[in-house]
Homo-oligomer: 223 residues x 2
DNA sequence: TAGATTGTTAATCGATTAACAATC
DNA sequence: TAGATTGTTAATCGATTAACAATC
């Protein structure tokens, strides 16, 4: 688990050599900054200080300045960071500047809520397919999408260049959808169900865990 | 930010002295373990190894054994950890063994999905009130709950001993609901919207960020 | 100029890991 | 017994923080 970003010394301008990888921690924090910056931009803000970023992310402001200064001098003393510019720079660093296509599974209440939300769109993700197993739902329109039968999954992954699967199905259906995604070659899965999913090692499952997040918050704020 | 749990030496049996606090990292990880253990139990599993816990949480197995052994000898060599027992022990450590009441805001698709899910119930949280501002929705039944007018918030927080607010409203409404929660004395807020919320320092906001989580996953699995 | 905030250093602390004896 | 997995050590690495000069 080498940290190729070093701790800053010989790196002054943007240097993320081709084969190198950010450490897990740095990549996680940069993603958080991006989330806040994107929303701040949406709200019409033009600059933001490390102090403000800290309030929204719960990450120490010195840590934030350190993370960013490792890749270049992005800020302006006395002013802060230009949001527009910083968003672009972080996207370059994370190499996720492009467009990424998502397949959404489950056209129930949660699935519809996700399909109608712009939480993914704001970050360059596009939901290009919506699947369900329930025949009663197939063909139904949800926003701009038409609910498709899950049997067309493999073909859709190829045709639509889907790189992420989002599970908004009942827990009982999550594993079989996952198996289909894995077979189709999708390696990133976002799981809104509680199901513990069995996947091969090359596949990355991220499970939403609001209850665990709350337990953590409660520990500090109620005790 | 002292870590009162130390790194294990003079602590052998359960010792979380009254005033002491877990470090942020330990509390976060224990919450993750709890999430996986709870689901594994639901699936009928009786024991689990640090290796398996690692696969589901992406936390190093040695780290897991270290975290747990700081509070007692919870495992059995050659076997693993008894899930039922470990759940109880971690709940004691996190001091969140009891029941916690939640107020849910927003009776739209997302709100209904949350109200009908057992993701919170499985961890000792109970949604005891569901609020909306839309007069057309007030009085509507969602599961066992009746949608109430948000004007009754302050009273409900007192009567129902609500300690957590969950926001499933449109982004544009999130700040005003938050202000109401803060005024009513709620200090833990789970935010499903994208809105950056302004709160006093004693209030803890946790914002759901599936897109940021995906960006992070994509960095490692597509590059 | 005065105030604010970055970029950076240096020091400390916690997380991470490999390795392995203990023991179920 | 043989195999598996915990509990624990020791060594290293990354995160965290305070502090402050640089500079907008």
């Amino acid at each position: 688990m080498a940290n190729p970003t070093g701790s800053g010394q010989e790196e002054n301008s943007l240097l993320i050599a081709e084969g190198e990888r950010l450490s897990l921690g740095v990549a996680a924090r940069l993603s958080r900054y991006l989330q806040v910056l994107t929303q701040a931009r949406k709200m019409g803000r033009e600059t933001i200080s490390s102090q403000e970023l800290s309030e929204y992310t719960h990450i120490n402001p010195t840590q934030i300045r350190r993370d960013l200064s490792g890749f270049g001098k992005f800020g302006k003393r006395g002013v802060g960071y230009r949001i527009e510019f910083l968003v672009e720079e972080i996207r370059k660093i994370l190499r996720t500047a492009g467009h990424h296509n998502i397949a959404l599974f489950g056209a129930g209440k949660l699935g519809e809520a996700i399909a109608n939300s712009d939480v993914f769109a704001d970050h360059g993700f596009e939901i290009v397919a919506l699947f369900d197993v329930d025949p009663a739902r197939i063909g139904k329109k949800v926003g701009a999408l038409t609910v498709r039968d899950i049997s067309g999954l493999k073909e859709a992954v190829k045709l639509d260049q889907i790189v992420v699967g989002v599970l908004a199905v009942p827990s009982a259906a999550a594993q079989s959808v996952t198996d289909g995604l894995v077979e189709a070659g999708v390696t990133v899965i976002f799981n809104y169900t509680e199901q513990l999913l069995q996947v091969p090692p090359e596949v990355n499952v991220h499970t939403s865990s609001p209850a665990a997040d709350l337990l953590y918050a409660l520990y500090f704020y109620l005790s």
